[in-house]
């Protein structure tokens, strides 16, 4: 944990640059001018209003889920199952939205968001309770629960929740009262990014200024000492897990309501997993995770453009994303190894 939280900020731009250079070499090997490819990537991420909107739209679920995972990291637990919490959030939002299709938009959207938050939190609660009361590794249970969630959503979409008008595994399209309002006329940008920003700022404030946030940080740094000092460690762990699940569920709501307009089987191209990396790159801080999500969103939006316009596979972008994080971790680890732990300096 210390490695993750204590990352040297300076290492991040360096890691990004090195990862981009390695990505450039890979692009060159595939026979494309890397500068041209990265030009296309920049163009695709920021070049037009719609492209900028795409970057922000991609960043939104990553930021929401990433902030939740960062909170978990700070408390010393690992929520690897945000993917499942996200899918169930999307599912709950779509079902609620279709049930309330004739209600006023504000009521429908609120109900959808609440349903999604509850679904995500409930799914996370299973893993949290298993960990706190039975000592089951949350890493394993959340992964297993993600499988269950994926198949549950697939079952619902192929069965009871399927739009009878189509054989495709998806719900009925939401009516306009179930769609998130747009933010930037002329683009597909919706208000989700504002929600994500508010969540990130609130989480930042919580960690810095609230007793609960202080207790999360203390627990993450040394749960034994925290417990010994009377901190409600179990309750803290359960609450960060539920919060993380709730934020993943909220992200599911935003994707359903703001992007797809219905629940589909493949709602997530792996947001729940990418967000783990976003949280790592964001040094487990909410604002850091938000910035990392913007970076990943730009890479993702720009990568699609790079693929379509210069024919470089978008997987290069994935490589750059993960290389960045690996390099940050390696850099931090190398520094930690080279400079022996301060524990040894104890008697000075």
């Amino acid at each position: 944990m210390r490695v993750i939280v204590g990352t040297d900020i300076a290492s991040i731009p360096i890691a990004i640059i090195i990862a981009l250079v390695i990505g450039g070499v890979l692009i060159a090997l595939s026979g494309v001018n890397p500068f041209e490819a990265y030009g296309a990537l920049l163009q695709g991420a920021f070049g037009t209003p719609q492209h900028l909107a795409d970057t922000l739209i991609e960043a939104t679920p990553l930021a929401l889920i990433g902030v939740g995972i960062a909170l978990c990291f700070r408390a010393g637990v690992f929520n690897v199952g945000a993917e499942g919490q996200f899918l169930l959030g999307g599912m709950a939002a779509a079902i609620t939205g279709n049930l309330l299709s004739t209600a006023p938009a504000i009521a429908t959207l609120l109900a959808m968001a609440i349903a999604a938050v509850l679904a995500g939190a409930a799914w996370a609660a299973i893993a949290a309770l298993l960990k706190v009361y039975l000592g089951a590794s949350e890493t394993l249970t959340t992964i297993m629960l993600t499988y269950v969630a994926t198949y549950l959503v697939s079952y619902l979409l192929n069965g009871p929740a399927r739009d009878p008008a189509t054989p495709i595994a998806q719900t009925q399209p939401l009516t306009t009262s179930g769609l998130l309002p747009g933010l930037w006329p002329g683009t597909t940008l919706h208000v989700g990014i504002v929600i994500a920003l508010i969540v990130a700022v609130a989480a930042h404030y919580f960690l810095r200024r609230r007793v609960g946030g202080f207790q999360i940080v203390a627990t993450g740094l040394n749960p034994v000492a925290a417990r010994s000092a009377g901190l409600p460690v179990r309750r803290i762990l359960i609450s960060v897990f539920l919060t993380s699940g709730a934020l993943a569920g909220l992200a599911g709501f935003i994707q359903v309501s703001g992007v797809q307009g219905k629940m589909i089987v493949n709602l997530s191209p792996g947001y729940g997993y990418t967000a783990i990396v976003v949280a790592l790159l964001g040094r487990s801080t909410p604002l850091g995770a938000f910035l990392a999500a913007l970076f990943f969103g730009a890479l993702s939006a720009g990568g699609a453009s790079m693929e379509t316009s210069v024919g470089v596979p978008a997987s290069v972008v994935t490589i750059v994303q993960y290389l960045t994080v690996l390099l940050v971790i390696a850099y931090t680890a190398a520094r930690t190894l080279r400079r022996p732990s301060r524990v040894a300096d104890e008697e000075e």
Partner: protein, 522 residues
């Protein structure tokens, strides 16, 4: 007061009769701070050379230079007359230097043999031959009269046993110069004796030992010469048979020896009708279900200090955990002012005026990566003292810390300094201050001065005595018999999970307690 240090002998290169190890004007700076200022000393073959000094005097820096962990900015190190510079730990090991750190460098989940094999090329690279290493370790341990089970898991060993592992590990790696950092701080009197005997037997076989300590009695029992460090400088080197204790003490602290803490003048002898804090027939089991505490009953009255003596690993940890609320007893009750608090949480007990100081300040006591102020506020952060409606009042947290820092004489750069960067003694002061400053009605304090320098020991003992004088009931759990004898009104001896004897302070002596601690009744 006359100080007559010996002149260090300079060895000729390649000489076999000169010092095996010599430091010449070694200087280490950390920014503004000079941790070692032209430190010189020499170690003769087969000698036990003690380094004496308060914490912060530069002993550990000196040791880290020899370990290859830091390079001196100036000065030189000679091994067998040749100038050597240690770029890494490997260089130091190759020169035959073996370190036994105060904080053990062991992986708790591995066995003794596996720990020794770690990173050891001769054990086999990918798949260490731990069976062979185990046999050789056992032989080595037997030879030096240490009991050691190479197949035991380190997490199952007591602190004393873990230290044995560290020593044998260094020997196994071919160390001819052994450097021990405060080795007795964690040992029982019996273990200390056998360690000292082992060191003497090692020197007879040609090993040389640097023995870092601030316990004069041990230094006198084992060492040939002593070098005193103060404020990063060498005060001098003496042969022990030609120097008096008082002389060394004043060399170490830079003034005449402070009066030692005396035992309490007027202990509360009249026992209150209802004890402040009591346990009744409590039991505890370890993870494998073995009883580690069996039907322990104790009580302590307001203003009384009850000392719990015993060798590490006889149930002290569990008893402290049951009292503080971290552990639920498998049987029995805990009572505070007559009320059953067995089911109360740690926080609830804190709310009821119970304070506790965990035995391991770095693992269970403090959160090293948080600041002094944050650690001090940790237990009561949710109260009106530090927060309102869940909103943290950082200014109050800081102000409280500034007050505590001056009241408890915590040496630091300020309330925002990370606890990790404090010396052990100052870390312990933070931990003690956190408990004491709340003016608790009962205090459970475990190993309050383990690995802490003399100045801090005095300060901490004073805090405990003052608290008791104000009517606090104190349970003092310590493996240091001197400490138990100096502070307690009554003394109970914990052996193998049971209280085998209880004494009034006035009626017991060191020898009796020592026998009881090893399970012998008198």
């Amino acid at each position: 007061m006359a100080i007559s240090p010996l002149e260090p002998a300079r060895a000729a290169p390649g000489s076999t009769t000169g010092p095996i190890l010599q430091m010449d004007k070694s200087t280490v700076r950390f920014g503004e701070v000079v941790a070692n200022d032209r430190v010189s000393f020499d170690l003769a073959p087969g000698e036990i050379h003690a380094l004496l000094g308060e914490n912060g005097a530069g002993k550990t820096t000196l040791m880290r230079v020899l370990a290859g962990l830091i390079q001196p900015d100036e000065g030189q190190v000679f091994v067998r007359g040749e100038a050597r510079s240690f770029e890494s730990v490997a260089d130091s090991v190759a020169a035959g230097i073996g370190m036994v750190h105060q904080h053990f460098m062991l992986v708790p989940t591995l066995t003794v043999a596996e720990n020794v094999s770690l990173g050891l090329r001769s054990a086999g690279r990918l798949f260490p031959n731990t069976a062979r290493v185990g046999r050789e370790l056992r032989a080595l341990a037997d030879k030096h009269g240490l009991s050691l089970d190479p197949s035991a898991r380190v997490s199952d060993l007591s602190i004393g046993q873990q230290q044995r592992v560290e020593i044998v590990k260094a020997l196994y790696r071919g160390a001819t110069i052994l450097i021990l950092d405060e080795p007795t701080a964690v040992l029982t009197p019996g273990e200390t004796d056998s360690l000292l005997a082992m060191l003497r037997s090692l020197t007879e076989q040609g090993t040389s030992v640097v023995f870092i300590s601030h316990k004069l009695r041990e230094i006198r029992a084992v060492a040939d010469r002593v070098t005193v460090l103060r404020h990063g400088q060498t005060v001098g080197t003496w042969a022990l048979d030609s120097v008096a204790d008082a002389e060394l003490t004043s060399a170490m602290i830079g003034r005449d020896a402070a009066p030692t803490v005396s035992s309490r003048l007027a202990p509360t002898t009249s026992v209150a009708p209802v004890p402040r804090l009591a346990v009744e027939r409590v039991g505890a089991r370890d993870r494998r279900g073995h009883a580690v505490l069996d039907s322990v009953s104790l009580s302590v009255a307001p203003g009384e200090i009850l000392g719990i003596a015993g060798v590490d690993g006889n149930g002290q940890t569990e008893l402290a955990e049951i009292l503080s609320g971290v552990r639920r007893p498998s049987a029995g009750e805990v009572r505070l002012d007559g009320a059953n608090i067995t089911a109360a949480t740690v926080a609830e007990r804190i709310g009821h005026g119970l304070a506790h100081v965990p035995e391991d300040r770095q693992r269970t006591g403090l959160i090293l990566d948080l600041s002094i102020a944050e650690n001090l506020a940790m237990e009561t952060v949710g109260t009106a003292m530090f927060s309102r409606r869940g909103s943290l009042n950082r200014a109050a947290v800081r102000a409280h810390a500034e007050d505590i820092i001056s009241r408890f004489d915590i040496r630091c750069s300020g309330p925002d300094q990370r606890v990790r960067d404090l010396s052990g003694g100052n870390q312990q002061k933070v931990l003690i201050a956190r408990a004491v400053s709340r003016a608790p009605s009962a205090l459970v304090v475990s190993q309050p001065t383990r690995g802490v320098d003399l100045g801090a020991v005095e300060n901490i003992h004073r805090q405990i005595l003052d608290l008791a004088a104000q009517g606090c009931a104190v349970i003092l759990i310590s493996t240091e018999l001197d400490e138990i004898l100096a502070l307690s009104d009554r003394i109970a001896v914990l052996y193998s999970g049971t209280i085998i004897s209880t004494y009034d302070r006035a009626t017991v002596d060191l020898g009796t307690l020592g026998m009881n601690m090893t399970g012998q009744s008198v």
